[in-house]
């Protein structure tokens, strides 16, 4: 312990007697990603404690879910992680399907993978751009949004909405893809691929960016597990866990026959399926840079998955299949399913009394657990590191407050 | 009104006559006295420090005045460059003095949690 403290250059005890200050970062603050309020206890520029205060966006989503049928609640899941609404839809749909032991058609399965992975790209683009914004660079944010717009255009064409899709629903999807969509999607992937190098140049390998993120907010794998972190935050600490591979059968079955490598540092290196920039010397496993880098890798990974899904989807003949009726009754019992959303493992739990309306609905939010670890990571950092650390957790308040 | 004008007319000389050394000396004197009073009166250590700065500055004004060639009237001679150089050294030493005094104030603050010089009586018997 003492050894660690000696090595930590940030812990400097000044001889000057100084007063601690309580500072409210948020709920209206440019870099808290929505209505998050962080109370900082600072000694000059050094933050000694960070306390997240949440609940400003609480909308009783779970309680509402107990008064609607399973399919009626889909639009409310849109509004949890509104940056990855498709993934939210899928999580709930799969949970209900698990309870009902319902199997969607092969075509619907591949379409779900396609859509969900595309949404993962969009979500990571926002996370990446906003992270640049947290560190004071504005342009990558707009570069990221430019590409995200194209994904949203695709979604709009597929389901009519740009943010809250309700596309994936219990028992399938609300509609099949329009004709010509796949070509556009492939064209997008084609032009998007080289742009990732641009992001790497502006952020990942930028000297100032590395200085600001490497060795900042280092989270040990043990700490990550203890706090229930998941997703890129967990994998950034070197824990090899991805629900798409390690999850329950009903979920992993979706990714059967898909080839992908979990974006995590194993044996001292990241997957080598593509050419990625080298890990900078200053970066320590579990710091902000690694969390960011894992997201960047997942963008490429998702692109591969989308390509595979396009192939498999177009190989499937026959109809997509109709989703379940709004009032389809569920068997009595309960089901819990965690899926790998862009922000982490999103779990939905429902208890049914045999009607179409669930008796109890609960959601396990990944951002909630990821945010909880912020106060551990921010201890002893500088004020400028707080946005860097909280931004690297890539939280969405809609999901935390529900 | 008449009284004001009558008292003001001699003051008109201030803006019609050229400036002499005596003008500068008056400014220097006022700065100096302000500094002395400040040092004597303030209980805030930083205030005392500012008083010292004022005193040194008042002295500098005098040096500059005596060094200036076009303030010199008949029968007196300018200090020339020497006056300016001495003023320069005063400025440098004042900066050094401020640094040390601040460090002392800071240490005092650490030990007493105040910058009130009246409380610096630890050595009192």
């Amino acid at each position: 312990m003492a050894q660690m403290l000696d090595d930590d250059p940030r812990i400097i005890e000044f001889d000057v007697r100084t007063d601690e200050m309580l500072v409210n970062m948020g709920p209206q603050h440019p870099s808290t990603h929505g209505v998050l309020r962080l109370v900082l206890r600072t000694d000059g520029e050094v933050v000694s404690e960070v306390e997240p205060h949440i609940g400003y966006l609480h909308r009783c989503a779970e309680k509402i879910g107990e008064n609607l049928t399973h399919r009626q609640w889909i639009p409310y899941t849109d509004r949890m992680d509104y940056l990855a609404a498709m993934n939210m839809n899928l999580g709930w749909a799969l949970a209900v399907e698990k309870l009902m032991k319902y199997q969607v058609s092969e075509k619907a399965r591949h379409l779900r993978v396609l859509i969900v992975e595309l949404n993962r790209i969009a979500s990571h683009l926002v996370g990446m751009g906003a992270y640049g914004l947290d560190l004071g660079t504005f342009s990558p944010f707009l570069y990221a949004f430019r590409e995200r717009e194209k994904i949203l255009d695709l979604f709009e064409e597929a389901c009519g909405a740009r943010l809250t899709y309700s596309y994936i629903t219990v028992g399938g999807l609300t509609a099949d893809l329009p004709s010509g969509w796949l070509v556009k999607c492939e064209a997008f992937l084609e032009q998007f691929e080289p742009i990732i190098q641009e992001y790497h140049a502006l952020l990942t390998t930028n000297a100032i960016f590395v200085k600001r993120t490497a060795n900042i907010g280092v989270m040990s794998p043990e700490l990550a597990i203890e706090y229930g972190c998941s997703g890129p935050v967990l994998r950034g600490s070197g824990v090899d866990q991805d629900m798409r591979r390690d999850g329950e059968a009903i979920y992993t079955a979706m990714y059967d026959s898909y080839a992908f490598e979990v974006a995590v540092m194993k044996d001292g290196h990241y997957p080598r399926d593509h050419v990625y920039p080298a890990v900078p010397a200053d970066a320590v496993l579990g710091d902000c840079w690694h969390r960011f880098f894992v997201r960047m890798l997942e963008v490429v990974q998702s692109m591969d998955l989308v390509r595979q899904a396009i192939d498999r989807y177009s190989a499937c003949k026959g109809p997509l299949g109709e989703p379940l009726k709004l009032t389809e009754k569920m068997p009595a019992g309960d089901a819990y399913l965690e899926t790998e959303c862009p922000k982490g493992q999103m779990g939905f739990y429902l208890v049914s009394d045999g009607s179409a309306i669930p008796w109890r609905v609960r959601a396990r939010s990944s951002s909630f657990s990821n945010l909880a670890v912020a106060h551990e990571l921010c201890r002893g950092c500088l004020i400028a590191d707080v946005p860097a650390i909280v931004g690297s957790l890539d939280i969405v308040m809609g999901e935390i407050d529900r | 009104m008449n009284i004001v004008v009558a008292s003001a007319v001699p003051l008109l000389g201030l803006i019609t006559e050229p400036v002499s050394v005596a003008h500068y000396l008056v400014v220097g004197a006022i700065l100096f006295v302000s500094g002395v009073v400040c040092m004597a009166m303030k209980r805030n250590a930083l205030g005392v420090l500012m008083g010292i700065e004022l005193v040194l500055n008042g002295a500098n004004v005098n040096f500059v005045a005596f060094a200036s060639p076009y303030l010199q009237g008949e029968g007196s001679r300018s200090l020339g460059l020497d006056g300016q150089v001495i003023a320069l050294f005063v400025i440098l030493l004042a900066a050094a003095e401020a640094a040390v005094a601040l460090a002392i104030t800071l240490n005092f603050y650490n030990n007493h949690a105040t910058v009130d010089v009246d409380r610096a009586d630890d050595l009192k018997g």
């Binding site: 000059g44 504005f138 342009s139 707009l142 930028n206 | -």
Partner: protein
């Protein structure tokens, strides 16, 4: 101009001088205010282009150039708020302190030969000194706002600007040493002629120190990546969090004013001032010093030259701002103390030794001599002695 008013228009001398001074002040003021308008527009357009956007297009005029004007109107009409716990007097005064400092520094800045508010023997020094006072307004604003974010911003700015004054001063001293004068006009005059006469290309050390100067200048005017005092992702808006309306715009004008100022200073000290890369005027047989109409034309050309160089500097600062992330405060200080200061000191020493070793430069005849001997200046064994007037103006190597 004053002479013209006295002799031709037959104004009384005091009025003539007042009018002249007023015109000069108004011109400088308009350089700042008008410059701010143009630069804000340019910043928007540049940011837009860099970010694959169009920038303002719809406010009116071609390319949306009325946008800044519309902004100005908005700021004028905006309610002027003051926090409850603020120190009213200091809160109100702070923007003016900043703006005045920025404005005052322009007084000693020559725009072309003889186009200068007040030619000063110690011009460089004055500009740097007055520019340093700008931070004062920022600190007052931060303190008086009674907001913790403002206070953080102010403390950061104080630490940063005071630290960066050291390497900045060292960078500035090198051209001063080469020219043998602190007068900005003299320094720029010495660089007249071809591109190779610019102090940037004087020797390798000045080339390096120019980039140190650029770094320090960006830091001392608080632009990205050193814009910690107003880091919006950390400190909301830093020292001007609580300001709105006209007062806020004074800070803004001060910022753009000092951006232009340090760029112009860079042009004057390293990039030949108002002298272009090719001495067009002297090739045509014109001179800027004679006082006839042609010389005024040459001066205007020089002014365009200087304004162009300074604007280019400002544009580069904008480019940097929209590209790089922001440094952290300890990294900013490290950059100053660990890199800029030692580098500036070493380059200063190097430039000095170069002057002794190769006073005429590597290629003789390509460059004007840097230092000149004036009468009675050469130190001898018995103190100063007179130099023969035939030697005056020649470069004499002083043995150490």
């Amino acid at each position: 101009m004053a002479e013209f008013l006295i002799n031709t228009v037959r104004l009384p001398a005091w009025l003539a001088w007042s009018v002249t001074a007023g015109v000069a002040a108004a011109l400088i003021l308009n350089v700042i205010a008008g410059g701010a308008l143009v630069f804000i527009w340019a910043e928007r357009k540049i940011a837009g282009r860099i970010q694959d956007r169009l920038g303002p297009t719809r406010t009116g005029g071609k390319f949306g150039w009325l946008q800044s004007l519309a902004d100005g109107l908005k700021l004028l009409a905006k309610e002027d708020l003051m926090p409850d716990g603020a120190d009213g007097m200091l809160f109100r005064l702070a923007p003016y302190v900043s703006f005045c400092a920025s404005f005052c520094a322009f007084i000693a800045l020559p725009f072309a030969f003889d186009f200068i508010g007040q030619r000063m023997n110690v011009g460089v020094f004055f500009v740097i000194a007055v520019l340093g006072i700008e931070v004062f307004g920022v600190i007052l604003a931060g303190y008086a706002s009674a907001s913790k974010w403002s206070l953080f911003g102010a403390m950061r700015e104080a630490a940063q600007v005071v630290s960066y004054e050291v390497p900045l001063g060292m960078c500035v001293v090198v051209p001063v040493m080469l020219a043998g004068s602190m007068d900005l006009v003299t320094i720029a005059e010495k660089q007249a002629g071809w591109l190779t006469n610019w102090y940037l290309f004087h020797d390798p050390f000045t080339f390096v120190i120019f980039w140190v100067y650029v770094t320090c200048a960006v830091a001392s005017v608080n632009r990205a990546p050193f814009d910690l005092a107003e880091a919006e992702s950390e400190l909301v808006a830093g020292f001007h969090t609580e300001y709105s309306g006209l007062r806020w715009s004074y800070f803004f004008m001060a910022e753009y004013g000092s951006m232009f100022l340090v760029s112009a200073l860079a042009a004057l000290l390293f990039l030949g001032g108002w002298n272009g890369p090719v001495p067009v005027a002297s090739l045509l047989g014109l001179s800027e010093g004679t006082g006839d109409t042609a010389s005024y034309f040459v001066r205007l050309l020089g002014m365009a030259n200087l304004l162009g160089k300074a604007s280019l500097g400002v544009l580069i600062m904008m480019w940097i701002r929209w590209t790089l992330p922001r440094l952290r405060i300890d990294q900013v200080m490290m950059t100053c103390l660990k890199y800029c200061t030692p580098l500036a000191a070493a380059m200063f020493l190097g430039a000095m030794l170069w002057q002794i070793a190769l006073p005429g430069g590597l290629v003789p005849g390509l460059r004007r001599p840097a230092g000149e001997i004036r009468e009675g200046w050469l130190p001898g064994p018995g103190g100063a002695f007179k130099v023969r007037s035939a030697d005056v103006g020649k470069v004499v190597q002083v043995s150490p």
